[in-house]
């Protein structure tokens, strides 16, 4: 019952969730500023942004705790923005899980079914099914306080899924877990999503979570969505410096667009050298630009063998890789990450090095 039903999918051709020009003001503060977003059925969409960027407000409006100041919200082509939360039929996993402490695990998971007036004999099997989905069937009689953080998280998930909502909202659900557990649950969530094909809207400020789990990421800043795309698009073609710095590690060098052809372009850096990069879209020649270089895309060579020269100012062993901090001759800095592999030379602070990259790996930002 929790598995994807193809019938339901074909039923909601178009969008599972649609936000149209949604604005939310609190007094004079604009929390959400003219946001439009379409989310396809079965998609895992992440709202990614720093705290205060409006992502949780969007989630609250979809869930029904806040009413948009203007604009409309549709779930499955039904307008819901004035509906009470209990009438919307969405699932929601809170950051602190919000498990009812006075109820057992089974009672927690059965709660939404009870509220829907299901007869008792139907509730029990459904609760068990939802609990087995998250591998907690044996914990049913326990109270939430008797479970570990990871288990509580899964109970919250089971409770949100048991009534088969078409949309599942998750508000930083991994925030309360320690790092190791987070890694495990992250992968579990991806697998779960694949097996149930529910639309998921996931809110986080953690770029790792966003990159690992999402089909699409919407990056938010100051109440606006500033870029929507697949994780790869967001990582490799960020629209601006803010996104580049927020998602992944990066180094930025400033310069001017010198020459452009179809596949690649040449940038004249402010420090003098002219280097190759991936051809940007629609930037006129001569305009000041930023060259985005991701650490793992750079190679360290002997001096004068690469596109730029510099001095190693710091070298840190990270286990799977070496992380180098390189000072360029004009004083700007580059991060380089080199895999820990036989045949690659290690450098020490003070070494002179050349830095090289494939033109297709260097992105130009306007």
């Amino acid at each position: 019952m929790l598995a994807a039903s193809s019938e339901r999918d074909s039923d909601t051709h178009g969008e599972a969730v649609r936000l149209d020009r949604v604005v939310k003001r609190f007094g004079s503060f604009v929390a959400v500023d003219d946001v439009s977003l379409d989310i396809a059925p079965g998609q895992f969409l992440t709202l990614l942004g720093p705290s205060g960027s409006g992502k949780t407000t969007i989630l609250s409006m979809i869930a029904g705790f806040e009413t948009p100041t203007s604009g409309t919200i549709e779930i499955g082509r039904r307008r819901v923005d004035t509906l009470n939360p209990e009438k919307r039929g969405v699932g929601l996993v809170f950051q602190n899980y919000a498990l009812f402490p006075h109820m057992t695990v089974a009672q927690n998971v059965g709660f939404p079914l009870r509220m829907r007036g299901l007869p008792r004999r139907e509730i029990e099997p459904q609760v068990l099914r939802a609990l087995s989905l998250v591998q907690l069937a044996d914990q049913a009689p326990k109270k939430p306080a008797q479970l570990s953080g990871g288990q509580q998280q899964r109970v919250a998930l089971a409770r949100a899924l048991v009534y088969e909502p078409t949309v599942l909202l998750m508000d930083e659900p991994l925030g309360a877990l320690d790092r190791r557990l987070r890694e495990v649950v992250k992968l579990e969530l991806v697998q779960l999503h694949r097996s149930i094909a529910t639309t998921i809207i996931y809110v986080t400020h953690d770029q790792d979570e966003a990159l690992t789990m999402s089909d699409r990421i919407a990056v938010m800043r100051s109440g606006r969505i500033i870029q929507v795309g697949t994780p790869r698009q967001i990582y490799e073609q960020p629209h601006d410096e803010f996104i580049a710095e927020f998602v992944g590690e990066s180094s930025l060098l400033s310069g001017r667009l010198h020459e452009v052809d179809r596949a690649r372009c040449r940038i004249k850096l402010d420090s003098g050298p002219i280097v190759d990069a991936q051809s940007p879209r629609a930037i006129p020649r001569g305009q000041p630009v930023q060259l985005l270089l991701r650490p793992e895309k750079l190679r360290l060579l002997a001096p004068h063998e690469g596109r730029l020269d510099g001095t190693v100012s710091d070298a840190i062993f990270l286990g799977d890789s070496m992380r180098y901090d390189i000072a360029l001759n004009d004083g700007s800095r580059l991060l380089v990450r080199q895999h820990n592999r036989a045949g690659l030379r290690d450098f020490a602070p003070g070494d002179l090095v050349g830095i090289d990259w494939d033109a297709a790996d260097a992105t130009v930002l306007a």
Partner: protein, 588 residues
């Protein structure tokens, strides 16, 4: 927590002075009282026989239970909506409501009862309103209804505060979670919020009922001579039966036994630890609370026992669905009206007392027609009032200093050490708060009298300290527990001795808490009436004693002046406590 104080003596020993005080001024007198009730009589059980066969006493016992039960019900019906309103209000509104509850809580019960005497009296607002409406003045004063209203109004904070403290610990996101999972507002409230507040409800019920049983000031002043409660009879008997038949003692013992039985029954259902300084027993307090929540009846309201289930199916769910059909406002309105009424009951007597003190009218009409400062002048010129004020302030200051030292040591001994029997110790410490003061007062009298302590300042200070000690210890223990022990350990690593670390690191940080505790102790002593009634003797007069005598003798506007002094003191105390807690928050 492992012992982190490498003192040569065990920090648990610091509770000894507090134990001595409780032992000598509380436990020993009670034991003596019990003994006298048998030994002074002609036959051991003669006194008890007489009490249990005389209609006067049995009637008073029944009345006592009736008043206490109705007061409990009334304060629950009014207090729950008020506590709920506090919980869900914006911080500014919440602070305002908390003040409106806490200020009456601290204002002496004598002052609030005085306010009620005016409101319910012949020249009061209710009587006047009825005169306008029906042409007949109505005097509610000296009727059972007046007693009941007064008791609800005065005991209300003891219901609201435990309720609110439980509600404050409930994450309101649980209600949101219930809503998004499909519960209507009414269903979310009944299935999630209400069950979670059950410990607070039970705590409030027990607290109010227990206090109600031992209550006598308000019933005595607002009720008629014929409708007296048991505690009043004890006080009256003490002043008339001067002979040593042990009869007064036996009456006190009867009330004590009734109290203890009530306590034993209620401890089966209510988390009593939580009611009386449960937070004293630092470690495992939350664990214990958890266990208590789990063992509460009704916890399985969801798919609990079959009977509960079918009851829910038959009655609860149809009721909820019916509620859902009504507009939300219509459901909320009665609740807000009750909360408003609660505030009115709590605060109008205080406002009335203030207004009366500025009124010209010697008959205490409310509202006053002309404003004057005449009564303040008269107060300042009356020697006996000033003497009483000086005595009260002096006794209050001595009590504050004494209890802060003894209670502070006890707090350290309770928070900073683990040893078996700590729970018993805590129950002993809060004992004076549980046992009706009438009983303890008589018991102390019989021990103090031969020692010449009756009618003396030291005697009053010792007795007042007994009431103030639990409050001081609880406040200081809470403070110590919030203190980050790592700071003290850091000081030790940096070379401080245990005492130096305490003096230079711990003490400065917890000092605001000490100030607050001292204020509470002073206020407790300043307001203390019941012990003082037995212990002031013939010549010594405290302010509450003078008030008490005048309230019986004649109502005069001077009483309102004393009330205003008292109210100003409370406002200062609450203000200081507020400032102190705010500054502590910024330290955190």
């Amino acid at each position: 927590m492992p012992p982190h104080w490498r003192l040569r003596f065990h920090p648990g020993l610091l509770v000894i002075p507090a134990l001595l005080l409780i032992g000598l001024v509380f436990a020993w007198p009670l034991v003596r009282l019990m003994w006298r009730s048998f030994s002074e009589a002609e036959q051991p059980l003669a006194n008890f026989q007489r009490i249990l066969t005389t209609p006067l006493y049995l009637g008073a016992l029944g009345r006592t239970f009736g008043y206490a039960a109705l007061a409990t019900l009334g304060s629950l019906v009014l207090g729950y909506p008020l506590a709920y309103r506090m919980r869900i209000s914006r911080p500014a509104v919440r602070t305002a409501i908390i003040l409106l509850v806490v200020i009456p809580f601290f204002v002496a019960l004598l002052v609030r009862t005085f306010g009620w005497m005016i409101i319910l009296g012949r020249t009061g607002p209710i009587s006047r309103l009825s005169e306008v409406l029906t042409g007949q003045p109505t005097t509610l004063l000296y009727t059972p209804l007046a007693v009941q209203i007064g008791m609800v109004a005065i005991l209300l904070p003891f219901m609201v505060l435990p309720l609110y403290s439980v509600m404050a610990s409930i994450d309101l996101r649980l209600l949101r979670a219930a809503r998004v999972l499909g519960a209507s507002p009414a269903a979310a409230f009944l299935t999630v919020f209400l069950p979670l507040t059950l410990p607070g409800i039970l705590a409030g019920i027990v607290l109010v009922f227990m206090l109600g049983i031992g209550f006598f000031v308000t019933p005595d002043l607002l009720g008629s001579n014929r409708g007296q409660v048991f505690a009043t009879l004890i006080v009256k008997a003490q002043s008339t039966f001067s002979g040593s038949s042990g009869f007064v003692e036996a009456m006190a013992i009867v009330l004590l036994i009734v109290t203890i039985i009530t306590l034993m029954i209620s401890s089966r259902v209510a988390p009593l630890q939580q009611v009386w300084g449960g937070n004293l027993g630092e470690q495992g307090a939350t664990r214990r609370r958890q266990a208590e929540v789990e063992h509460l009846p009704g916890r399985q309201s969801v798919t609990g026992p079959r009977i509960v289930r079918s009851l829910a199916d038959v009655a609860l769910w149809p009721a909820i669905r019916a509620l859902d059909k009504l507009p939300n406002r219509l459901v909320a309105l009665p609740a807000w009206l009750l909360a408003g009424l609660a505030i009115v009951l709590l605060d109008t007597p205080i406002l009335v007392a203030i207004a009366i003190s500025f009124g010209e009218d010697i008959f205490l009409s409310f509202p006053p027609t002309e404003l004057t400062l005449r009564w303040y002048q008269e107060f300042a010129q009356t020697r006996s009032w000033i003497d009483a004020l000086v005595t009260s302030v002096g006794v209050g200051l001595l009590t504050a200093v004494f209890t802060v030292i003894v209670g502070g040591m006890a707090a350290i001994g309770l928070v900073r050490a683990e040893y078996p029997g700590k729970d018993v110790l805590i129950s002993l410490l809060v004992g004076p708060m549980i046992i009706p003061q009438v009983i303890t007062g008589i018991a102390i009298y019989y021990v103090f009298f031969p020692l010449g302590l009756v009618g003396s300042v030291p005697g009053l200070v010792l007795a007042h300290s007994l009431v103030a000690l639990p409050i001081v210890t609880i406040t200081m223990a809470a403070n110590l527990r919030n203190f980050d022990v790592r700071l003290e350990r850091t000081a030790r690593v940096l070379g401080a001795s245990p005492l130096q670390a305490f003096r230079h690191v711990t003490l400065p940080i917890i000092s605001p808490g000490i100030v607050v505790a001292a204020f509470f102790a002073f206020l407790t002593s300043f307001d203390e009436l019941v012990f003082s009634l037995f212990l002031v003797g013939v010549r010594l007069r405290t302010l509450p004693i003078r008030l008490w005598e005048d309230l019986h003798f004649k109502l005069s506007p001077m009483l309102a002046v004393v009330s205003v002094i008292e109210i100003v003191l409370v406002l200062v105390a609450v203000g200081v406590a507020g400032i102190v807690t705010r500054s502590r928050r910024t330290v955190d």
